[in-house]
Symmetry: C2
Subunit: 795 residues, 2 copies
């Protein structure tokens, strides 16, 4: 069914010989793809196909595969001609049979997995292992050479591609976008990456929109609009689309070769011009729209129903339940004429193998796709130099994130030359008080500018677009190719990338199990503008649940930090920037707050991750009556203020204050590497004393982490219980019973020896709380008592 | 600063009088907006502005507001002229000062909130309450008349607009899309809604892209590309853009009036033609691109720095810390000349008030914006008629979702006339085995078609686009305007809409607290293609965490169901379709599975939500030795198979089998209305016997729900622990220790009286498990023993 020959047209750029060889390479890849989906044995069809040669369970996606193979074959040609360094991103990663086939044809696969050798026995293993238990997955997963993109969840190929080429001037990311994926929101906006690309210092992205017309069961939108609309759309996105459409292989080979020659020479011209003249003005980059039948070269019909060029080709075009399908399969496989492609030993014939580039120029061997191997640690200034001076607990005020901004400014400076660190955020870097970074760099921007613009630069290292998806995708692409980054985001809206986080965490987990994958830098989130300080933006901006989502992923991947003040935040940030193969979530506010720890104290506290704050405790000479635990900056503030109230209402009560920076210390050691042992936990939380736990997020997360602990039944957790609005900061904690008055009253509820005075004191506390609420309603601000409250060690 | 007069040009369509009145209406709205942001008192500036008239804390977004007011004023004009029914959707919902001001000017606000009357005292309250504790939020929240869209999280305005007009042929949704929001992924793809709109049976969406040029601190991408690209982009999306650009109010009034006249007459012509000729072919709908300065009519500069037309206008353009700002504020407020707008009593002058439409034609009084008031319950066939016959437990097989597909087919038929029910899903309706619905309807499709297309129709009621965001947004818009829907989705990828779910749940929670809001139909999710049956698609498709995310929201909003078989799924589906103001999550597989309950049993079981399966239990004559609890179809299967093994290995063991359909029964009654009382819980789970709990999702969720229960310490939960790949169904449960062998071995670990035989039996069980794993690795499929296993009551 493949390779219906047609005369070479006069406008041809491929000679008949080259066309034949490329077609053979493509047929070989297609043959290997069908083989992977269907065959257990008899890989070269040296005997008649029999039922026992076929897999008992057929899993895989054929529809997109021949198109991917076609693109791969032609990219190989243009790489050989231009010696460009190309990273292949298969948006339709479920076309892994094609991606894997191509990497095997290039030899990379056998280099990394020697048992899958380039011969008949290796081919048999190649076929057998695909989508097979103990074998390889059906997507372009971490196991796949040359891949940084699984494509299991759709929408992120193009932002990954842009992320990969930032600061990689010699790299071209050839990014295949499926027309299904093109319907997703994240993909639809990621075309705008071209407004953030610097032709001098960054590489290029060549998007190849593959319109094969169908998703699982539906046509695709972009395949069903007039060509004028399609072209206008991509011109509107700022590209020069090159349309390649058809199904006759000979003509399509010529057209694709021409399109890629055009695209690559345009890229080269654009870059040479920009680099020669040091002019960064946004060029119109090329893109290719490739329109081919879905399941191209597969069976035209199956059981009388349309298959090629239709959605029925999406996965396995036919099963083996009907006996006549065995013949159909054999006919299909033989249509690629394997004997013309492979020699007696099952090796690709040398003249066809010569169609692949050599060494690192093979896309499957592109070093950037194993970014960890290229990763250099960041040059980090000493975070201690950014410390806020704290003469005593509560004796200084600071905006925590502001200090981190200074630290990050100098991280940016120190790594300006290696160009391997960027900040990411949806238009919130300054709002999140990291604005000092703009002393040394600008916001990445290559769209139009005006004279009065503020810190916009094609060379800027702060990447802001109002799309959390795009920020996340760019950063993933940047990390996966061996660089470092830091993502600051409003806490509530980081949920927008929940699913992307899932996929990245899964990628990291699997990568660790792949011997040749080297560790990459961690994904670092700073969640600021958090639930307790979004009082001004209202309920839609109040959601601390990302942490709940994160802790479902593998313990050796995820870390969650709640630094209570600026010095602890500095330490945690430094720690995260030094780590690898993790997802680090840091939650810390941006508003001015009292500071608790000196830098020395902060280092000690963070190193343990959890600890007793002796200076706030009154149990030095024995067992406490109550443990006041706090995790998060605002819960820490309210807990200390509650301790203050307790000193007033119950002066001889023995209170132990525990602060938690590293949330995962609460989990058993058996479940998380940072978890405390039970002995350590019991020493801190006691075995039987009431624990009033003030937590930043949803309270039940603490129970989920600590339910196995001895004293769990005595743990009483306060946190966000989904009550919010536009109001004052203190009213936010009051609405959720997390305020100092509730916490103090909780103590009177739970400490037996206070029960005599409890009713009286609680009435007094309640009265004070009512007074606060009335004041807030009347004045629209918190009472001075709250606004000006400071910890005093004198009491 | 407003209303610099210019001569009426010859192409004018507004007379000078009309222009003046519209401008006055706009100035009034702007005045009220600034007043809401700044003023506590002295609303009409009848005395000189003093510091005590100004709010102590200034919260609000000015930047977008004058543009919203401008659009609102002009929509009012075209509504008065055309008598169209228009729903106003403010994508930049944080421009609530403007939206609220307009609704007050129209009188609706005072009708719904009589204390905020249309006079000086009401104006004072209007100002004071904005962004004030106990007042109203800073966004177009549920409290805002005429709003179905808060706009707190950006990206969903346009999909809400399309959702609102489906099956509302007489409705026009005028949807303002901010240029910040336009950068988000969900918004970028939602322009394609026009390919799913039927001009005969649906209403129209008029997108108004408001390019005010800036986000919080950055320019916007779409405001910084050449006009040709901008126009090409929207032509590519299939619209005819009408550009309105400028800042001189007189000229802008003329231009906007012309643009809206054009747009509305195009819509009318398109609809009249389509409806007259019954031709549904996709027309090119109009859209408006409105380019105005950010913070238009606000102070040009503040402290010498550019404010109007710049990002500094985004929120409050200046604070009151500098004394001279008081004068600046007064000058700004007086620039709108309030005495020309309001009479002595503080009422809008009648000739200006006459610029508003009347009654329901006021956008703030549009009945569709309080959709619950229009909602009619669905006509539901009797779900019992779709039951699968089950002669005894395990005596029938069925694909559960297939039966629901039949039920939904008839729900679609029964509600074909009221046209108030649609199915939504990202291209997965058939893949999720709901394909019987296509017997009575098609997939909604108004792009190009070919003769061989399969069930595509502009009239179809199954909405499929490969964008979970768009599906969710459409459905939200459809529900919020009083209709019903059902969303089926792959379990792993529903996380894509985590954040949208959050916002919808928050909207529902707040709506319940707004007296005039009527309940709307529930948001119903069917999560199928779930973690245990995505063995063929691999790790990226395996994620059961959406439920963890959902249960963080308010207990009276969320419900989670795990029907173990087809009859229970039918009951649950029927129940969810009858409910309102909820988010219902149903998790159920699509693969052929043994069936357990007859319809009568299913009804009883689901009505309680949890119960002992006596037929599977062996503790009828007393206390059990062990409780085997299961929640989810696959955990139920594995639990019953484990019970089978236990009958073999420990024939006299007393086993109690508990199945949970309604997950929230596990929570204490005090925390969730469906929660069991402690007495009920103890009766089921015992106070002290080991509980082996097989759960569909992440195991710790069960602990989080049940940690307060008496017997919690004895609960041993198995579930998904993030181990997956492309493999067999049974290998999936084995990798996560959720298989029958692990569950049986768990019993031997935990029942004291089995400890004598435990080592021996566990070795035997382990050996059998190894045998299974070897078989799977060798054959690529599960052993017949597993594939063919059936419950037998004979043992």
């Amino acid at each position: 069914m493949a390779n219906q020959k047609s005369p070479v047209p006069s406008t041809a750029i491929l000679s008949q010989d080259e066309l034949d060889l490329i077609d053979k390479w493509w047929r070989a890849a297609n043959y290997l793809s069908v083989g992977q989906i269907y065959l257990l044995d008899n890989p070269l069809l040296r005997e008649a196909l029999a039922k026992e040669h076929v897999k008992p369970r057929l899993l895989g996606h054929w529809g997109t595969t021949p198109g991917l193979n076609f693109i791969y074959a032609h990219l190989n040609r243009v790489i050989r001609h231009t010696d460009e360094q190309v990273l292949f991103i298969a948006g339709p990663g479920h076309g892994a049979p094609g991606v894997v086939a191509s990497t095997w044809l290039e030899g990379t696969y056998s280099e990394l997995y020697p048992e899958v050798s380039q011969d008949a026995d290796g081919m048999r293993r190649l076929f057998r292992q695909f989508s097979f238990p103990g074998g390889i997955p059906s997507h372009a997963a971490p196991e796949t050479p040359g891949s940084i993109h699984e494509g299991g969840e759709l929408g992120y190929s193009l932002s990954h591609a842009f992320g990969a080429v930032f600061d990689n001037p010699d790299l071209i990311a050839a990014c295949v976008v499926g027309d299904g994926e093109a319907e997703t929101g994240p993909l639809a906006t990621s075309w705008h990456g071209n407004k953030f690309l610097n032709p001098v210092c960054d590489g290029a992205v060549l998007p190849i929109l593959h319109l094969n017309g169908y998703k699982i069961a539906n046509p695709t939108v972009l395949a069903r609009i007039p060509t004028e609309e399609l072209k206008a759309l991509f011109e509107g996105y700022g590209y020069a689309p090159i349309l390649v459409e058809g199904e006759e292989p000979g003509a399509m080979h010529q057209a694709m070769a021409r399109a890629l020659d055009d695209a690559f020479s345009t890229i080269r011209n654009v870059q040479d011009k920009a680099r020669g003249e040091r002019v960064t003005k946004r060029p119109v980059w090329p893109m290719i729209i490739l329109k081919t039948p879905k399941g191209w070269t597969g069976p035209k019909t199956v059981d009388g129903l349309k298959a090629e060029g239709y959605w029925r080709s999406h996965q396995v075009p036919f099963t083996m339940e009907k006996p006549e399908h065995l013949g159909l399969l054999e006919e299909w496989l033989r249509s690629y004429r394997p004997d013309e492609l492979f020699n007696e030993a099952g090796q690709l014939k040398p003249e066809i193998a010569a169609m692949s580039p050599k060494g690192d120029r093979r896309m499957s061997a592109n070093p950037h796709a194993n970014g960890g191997a290229l990763m250099r640690p960041l040059r980090l200034p000493d975070f201690k130099d950014y410390a806020v001076a704290v003469e005593g607990p509560g004796k200084a005020d600071a905006e925590s994130t502001r200090l981190v901004g200074r630290f990050l400014r100098d991280v940016l400076s120190a790594n300006a030359e290696p160009r391997n660190f960027r900040l990411f955020g949806p238009d919130e870097t300054a709002s999140n008080r990291l604005q000092d970074v703009f002393e040394v760099t600008g916001r990445t921007w290559n769209a139009e500018t005006f004279a009065y613009d503020d810190h916009l630069s094609p060379d800027g290292r702060v990447m802001e677009i109002l799309s959390e998806h795009t920020c996340q995708g760019w950063l993933e692409g940047y990390l996966l190719t061996g660089r470092h980054g830091f993502f600051s985001c409003y806490e509530a809206f980081i949920h927008i990338v929940d699913s992307m986080f899932n996929q990245h965490a899964k990628w990291l987990k699997t990568s660790k199990e792949v011997a040749w994958r080297r560790p990459i830098a961690s994904m670092n989130y700073l969640l600021t503008s958090h639930v307790w300080r979004q009082d001004h933006n209202g309920f839609s901006h109040q959601d601390p649940g990302f942490v709940d989502h994160v802790v479902n992923k593998k313990a050796d991947i995820v870390r969650v930090y709640f630094p209570p003040d600026a010095n602890t935040l500095l330490h945690v940030t430094d720690h995260c920037l030094r780590s690898w193969n993790r997802v680090n979530v840091i939650v810390a506010g941006k508003q001015p707050q009292p500071q608790w720890l000196t830098m020395d104290q902060a280092i000690k506290h963070c190193s343990k991750g959890i600890g007793i704050w002796e200076w706030a405790s009154s149990d030095q000479d024995g067992e406490p009556d109550v443990v006041m635990a706090c995790c998060g900056d605002i819960p820490t503030l309210e807990t200390l203020a509650a301790v203050d109230l307790l000193r007033e209402y119950a002066p001889d009560l023995k209170v132990r204050v525990i602060n938690i920076v590293d949330l995962m210390t609460l989990q058993p050691k058996t479940e998380h590497p940072h978890g405390l042992s039970d002995i350590e936990f019991d020493e801190l939380f006691t075995k039987d004393k009431p624990v009033i736990f003030a937590y930043h997020g949803y309270p039940w997360l603490i129970h989920r982490l600590a339910y196995k602990r001895t004293n769990h039944d005595n743990m009483h957790v306060r946190g966000f219980k989904e009550e919010g609005s536009t109001t004052t900061p203190f009213d936010m904690v009051v609405r959720n019973d997390l305020d100092r008055f509730h916490l103090a009253a909780d103590v009177f509820d739970r400490v037996p020896r206070l029960s005599v005075s409890a009713a009286h004191v609680k009435q007094s506390i309640r009265d004070r709380l009512i007074e606060h609420r009335l004041y807030i309603r009347q004045h629209g601000i918190d009472m001075p008592e709250v606004r000006n409250w400071r910890w005093s060690s004198a009491k």
